[in-house]
């Protein structure tokens, strides 16, 4: 398969994941705020703000992966978000915290299995990094193309 097909597959996986995750969390912000609090990274009082902020950001990220002027920014956002999610899960596992991933609300198969969540985040981070690199390469090619 050529690079373009791989990019499309990566975009589809990332978009579907982020839009679904964002939409599910948007439906039940209280549960998600409780999940955020279990990570014990931010002061607990900020958990509600994070729970209100993250779902729209994930939906933007997933949607903008297919909207041309924003594709690269969306892929960059996907890299940042997945890297942060991965770091949060790893620190929780190392600290032995009783984490609730909350990634897909109560429908998350990895809700109480941080190691499954870590594996999923590694795959998503790889897809996001590949997409971002592909978009950077594409914008470089466009800039260096001879102007007619």
């Amino acid at each position: 398969m050529n690079r373009r097909v791989w990019l499309l597959i990566a975009q589809l996986i990332l978009a579907a994941t982020f839009i679904l995750a964002g939409a599910l969390k948007l439906r039940d912000p209280q549960s998600f705020a409780a999940s955020v609090a279990t990570f014990r990274v931010l002061p607990k009082v900020w958990s509600n703000v994070v729970a209100l902020w993250l779902p729209p950001l994930e939906i933007f990220c997933g949607t903008f992966l297919f909207i041309k002027p924003w594709q690269r920014t969306a892929a960059f956002t996907a890299v940042i978000l997945n890297a942060v999610f991965l770091a949060l899960l790893v620190q929780g596992l190392i600290r032995g915290l009783d984490l609730e991933c909350g990634c897909f609300g109560k429908w998350d198969p990895a809700a109480n299995h941080p190691s499954l969540g870590i594996f999923r985040d590694i795959l998503l981070l790889a897809a996001a990094t590949f997409s971002y690199q592909a978009f950077v390469r594409r914008s470089r090619q466009l800039r260096s193309a001879p102007k007619v």
């Binding site: 999940s35 607990k44 009082v45 729209p56 924003w70 920014t73 960059f76 956002t77």
Partner: protein
Amino acid sequence: MKSALTRDAIGFVLMALVALLLGIGINALRPDPLPLKYVSAAGQLAAATAADSEPTQLISYDETRALVGRPDVIILDARPALFYQAGHLPDALSLPKETFDLDFPKVRSRLRASGIAGIVIYCSGGDCIDSAAVAKRLAAEKVGPLAIYEGGWEEWSSLEPSAGETK
């Protein structure tokens, strides 16, 4: 490359700011908006019922410890049945939030028995929401007085050396 990365970082910040405003806007339109300052679900319920004739109280580990084993106090585990089976507070009954409608009829007569001084509900820990959800359902069923042990199984199992044996 550096300027491209800066541009992407600015785009990310812009997207994050718009998402924050949108998230706060959507929340304001909800029938029960989430307060911006986090309070645990149990804390919210206790505050909401403070003025009621039978408020839901929050109790500590020591208070729970003193209530465990008393015949006039019922302990309810609001976590999913799988977690209850793995370990629970002594003599606790399982009443998971998810299967409340199915399981409540099984414990109804015990909860409504005469001489019951109180019902203590707990879930996994201070930030879990299942105990508050079950307490709300029990209050609607006119069962009480209710108390939530906020520390939940996480605190109990860390402070009670024999907690894993209460199967």
